[in-house]
Structure formats: C-alpha cells, structure tokens
Symmetry: C2
Subunit: 383 residues, 2 copies
Amino acid sequence: MLFKDKFRLHTPGPTPIPPSVQHAMNRPMIGHRSSTCSAIIQESSKRLQPIFGTKQDVLIITGSGTSALESAVSNTVQAGDEVSVVVTGAFGDRFAKLTERFGCHVHRLDIPWGERCTPEELKSHLRQHPDVKAIFMTYCETSTGVLNPIEELARVAREETDALTIVDGVSCIGAVPMEMDAWGIDIAVTGSQKALMLPAGLAFVAVSERAWQVIENNATPRFYLDLSAYRKSLGKQTTPYTPAVSLLFGLEEVLNLIEAQGMDNVIARHRLMMEMTRAGIRALGLPLVATDEAASPTVTSVYGTNDVHVEDLRQTLSAMNVTVAGGQQHLKGQIFRIGHMGYCEPGDILAVIATLEVALKTLNVPVSLGRGVQAAEEVWARV
Amino acid sequence: MLFKDKFRLHTPGPTPIPPSVQHAMNRPMIGHRSSTCSAIIQESSKRLQPIFGTKQDVLIITGSGTSALESAVSNTVQAGDEVSVVVTGAFGDRFAKLTERFGCHVHRLDIPWGERCTPEELKSHLRQHPDVKAIFMTYCETSTGVLNPIEELARVAREETDALTIVDGVSCIGAVPMEMDAWGIDIAVTGSQKALMLPAGLAFVAVSERAWQVIENNATPRFYLDLSAYRKSLGKQTTPYTPAVSLLFGLEEVLNLIEAQGMDNVIARHRLMMEMTRAGIRALGLPLVATDEAASPTVTSVYGTNDVHVEDLRQTLSAMNVTVAGGQQHLKGQIFRIGHMGYCEPGDILAVIATLEVALKTLNVPVSLGRGVQAAEEVWARV
C-alpha cells in the first residue's frame, strides 16, 4: 500500500538529503585540481567557520566521521602519553579505543550511559590526572541522545590543565551552538551525514593555533590523516588527496541552505524539534533516556517498557515507512532513537509522533491516539 | 559559444559519471545499518572479485585511493622493516613516502619516469635486498601513463623472496587484466574515481590469505584503516564505520554496466582507446612519453615540443571544452596527459584528437587538420 521510496529517515545519521543538495551533486564531474574545484574547497572551508565558531581553517577530509576522530588522536598524541577520555556512551568509548590503539595511557571518566558529564565530575577527574596531554570529549553522544555541556567542560579543562581539549561534534555541529574559539576548544570534528545534510563521505576538522604547535611536533606516523598536509594544501586551495568531488558540490548547496536560514534559526529549529519530540513521547507515557537538562537537540532516545518491545516497535514503524534507530552495545533492545537533525522540521516531528501512536496501537499497547501529537503541537504552537 | 557543462573530462581520474550511475546515486538516503545497505555492501564486494581476479573479500573503505594505499602499508609493515618500493613516477614515490612515514627501511628501485620496471631490474634489485618484508609496486603509473608488467614483477617477487607483493592499481583496475590470485599478488588496491566510473570517495582493497596472516600479527597502530575491522564487518555484511552510502548506490549500477559489457570487452575497449590515442598523437608528430610496450590502456602522456607549450595547449583545449591533465612534479609543464578510462569509448577519442588538432592550429603550430583523427579512425576501423 505504501510507496517504497517515501520512508521518513529518522536515524541520527545518515539524515535525509535536501532536493537542492541532491540536485547539486548531479553536476557533471570535474577535475579536483581545476580552478572550479579549488574555489569550492576554499570557499566552503571559510563558510564552515561560523558553524564551528572559529577563525581557523576548517579542513575537509574524504572519509567517515571516524577518520576525523582518528586524525584528532594520531596528530596530537604519542605512545605513552597520558590522556583523559570522557565516556558517556558508544562514541566516547570509540575515542577511548582510538587513544588506546595509539598507545596512550588512558584515564577514562566513565559516566552512566544516558547521563551527561558535569563540570564537577570532570574537575575532580582532572585533579587526579593533572598531567594529561589531551582531553577527549563527545559533544552529542549519539548512542544515548545526551548533549554534554561542552562549553563548561572545556572551561574546566583549560582551568585545570594545559591539555588540548578535543571535541567529537559529529552528531551535532551544525545544529547546536558551537563557539570553538571562544570556548577554548582545540580540535572540533564533524561528519557530513548528520546536521550537514549530506551523504556520508566527508569529515571536517578545525584546529586551534595551540593544537597546531602540538601537531607539528608530534612524531606519531600518519599520512592520509596527517592534518598538516590538509592545512598546507588548503593554503593552495586544494586537498592533499583526491576529494569526494560530488559531495563537495553538495556541500556548497548545504552552506547556501544554512546561510539562507541563518545559524541562529537552524539552532532554534533543532531545539524546537527536540522539545516537540520529548513532549510527544512523554504524553504517550514512554520513558525518555535523557533528562531535560541533558537532552540533545539532534536525537531523542526512548526506553522500551513491559508493553513496548523496542525491536518490535522499530519493525512496525519501518513497515509504516518511518525509520528510527535501535540502541547500541548494552542498550541494544533497550532503547530506540529518533533522529531529528539536518533536513528535518517541526511538521516531520508531528508525522513521526503520530505514526508512532498508530504503531503502538497496532502492537496492542494501550495508547490514546492523538495524545502525543497534541502535546507536540502545543509546543510548536507556543513558538 | 560553448555550453558550460558539456566539457569532455579526459583527466586520468576523476572520470565522467555514466548517467545511469548518476541516477542511482539519487536514491533517497537510507540507514547504513539497514538490510538494504547490507545487501549492497555484501553483493558489491562479491561482484568486485572478478575485477580483481580474486576469490578473497574485496573490502570497501570510505576514503581516497591514498587511504587504501596507506592501509596496504600500515597493516603489513612495522617500523624498522626492510621494504622495497618500485618507483616509476609520482605514485610509486607516494608509496615510498608512505613506507618511510611508517618507519620502514626503504630500498627504492628508481626507474626513469616514462619507463616501466622490467622483471630483470626487479630481480637484480631483490638479489641485493633479499630480506625485504614487502615489495610495493604501481600497476599503472598515472603520472607518466606507464603500465608496469605486474604479472611478471609479481612472479619475480615470489621467486626471489618471501615478501608480500603489494600493488597500487588505482588508475587501472577495472580497465586492464588483473588476476590477483593467479599472479600471486598479496594486496591490490583501487579507487572509485578511475576505471570504476564513480565520484571519488570509495577505495577498494583485496587481501590474500598470506597477507592476512601478516596483518593479524602486525602491531602498527591503526584504527580507521585497520583492514581486519573491515574484514570482520564484511562478514556481518557491513562496514566498521559509516560508509559513503550514495557512492554505494552508484557502485551497484557501475557493476551492472561492467557485467553487461563483460570484463573482457571492457579490457578490449581500453586497449583500443589507447591504440587510437597513440596513433592520433603520433600522426600529429607529437612525442609519446611511453613506448608501445610500456603504454597504459588508461592514460596517454605526451611531451611538449619547441612549438607546443603544454600549458598553453591545455588552456586552449580547456576553452574548447576538453580537459586534459598536466604533468606532475618535475614533469610539470613538460607533458600533458589524456585520460581514456571508465565511461569513455572510441568516439570520445576521435573527438579529443580532432579537437586537439584545432587547438594546435589555433596556437599556430604547423598541423595537417584531420591527420591525427584519420590515424585514430584507421585503428578503430581495423577492429
């Protein structure tokens, strides 16, 4: 009965591609050393700066978000270095694994999944480990839908140590406030397939002057992910290795869309979608994973209940053309996650909540049809 | 007078995208952990096997060709290892730089740019360095348009040493014969934006059982480019990190196109295009860089002359909507390179040679209009 290609993609990345971005990616292929491609690289890097809140170069890597995370590790640390990693979920854990792989002596600050790291917790951790060379943290922890208070955490890091502050912003930069320079963040990283509304394949890295000094004196072997090579090439309006040109075509149009809306409005839209989603879920009596204080504007995680088996629910939603994500690692089967970032707006949230109600009904879960969507509408109506 | 978007892209990568591939990349975005995406990953890996001439898994990395070259280095060698690198141009040089970066004791076998490495040269080199752990070689040296006799070189490598034979096939796999298993090659690598007719952003790596044993015992730190992680994930029909999904959509259609034509016919088409290009260039009196024996079916390099200044010629051609590449490193300004791979066929070669004649005339170079194109036509007519 339903269309095969009309599904609503609400995973926390990849996210739907706007038609104009899709269209831009259909430009005929050009040489990556052409002046046309150089202009796209140089201008896009500049236009990404306000999204990161930085005056530094934003480097463009062809790879997944993880390639950029690795670059933030392999360029800054050496085997034997002491580092701290704030682990609030699966992606904090990935940062920890990366630093371990590169031979670091890793101090994990493990926070229960679903909670955020408080400035006090970080302060007390750093007082035990004052000699760390770098502190790795996750802005939005995609696996739980938690937004860490990164501005405060960066402040604590700067006050307590001389370490570099390195932030994984993959699932939120472009949707939430990010003032890298003002907040004293040394490296911030994101990927193309989240708030930036592109297919996966590009990753973006911004680096402070302080971090460049460390990078230039770092002997850890690296080549493809050697950030100095990207910086040097960007100075010549290009990339050191062949970039994913079709995604660069798309990036140009993504930046048009973000600039046309204005970054403040983009941020406000994501907050509104978060509040609508949370109001809807709450009205349906389903337990939210994150508290209001800790919730991310880009993804909302919801626990299953005795009545609601999350994998059954995901399957039922999928048959109704709504795709949401499941849990990762020990939360698999325990939670589902609704992505609401990038090319997503309030009307999409209403459709998701409303479809969720029908899905629950189909699964014989007691539910008042319309109650969740009404709560979400009320949030929107108040704006 | 000319259309802005009708340029003929004849760089040796990126190459033009077939319309059906472009169309496929417009499918609505899907989650990369969906069953649909898993099926594409698993089937594409299988369908790439005959292109590599292997029964081994073909791993799919999101990155440039260089990311795959690095994976072939960082997964197989450790600091202090002796390795040999056959350097016939800029990409052999990149392999040498990569192995140096990872701390290897590198024995370069430098061959004058424009020539190929003969089996005798490799044999004599390896007799001086019998203890190397790995031998790196370039199948098509993109910077000069030379095709190394990789089958014979691999045989020599196997006869003279126990080293792994590692082949950069970026600018030719998918256009030339490649029998990785039969020829005793341990790792072969290519990228998406050359013979495989896609935008850049995917890279492909095939690995022998012998190489897996080395990889599994190799301690060099690596994470994003850790081939074992890709193998393990492929066993679960997925990738360890978010793949470039839109390019995977395109890959599926590329494989349809190659299978519909048949790999033997694809190879024959590339040989014919090479012979036509060379006949045309010769008839115009321009000096070819590679000898007939050493010429690559995917790219033809041509020297400038006293009359023909290559950068002027490239600019003139560009204004006539034909894009060819210049030289790299010390060949910059000395040669130009005509790519003829991927979505390219004999008629395109006629158009390039004919336009080249008009460009030469425009630059007041003595030229008999039609002579080059006639020579190319004669080659095609003989098929």
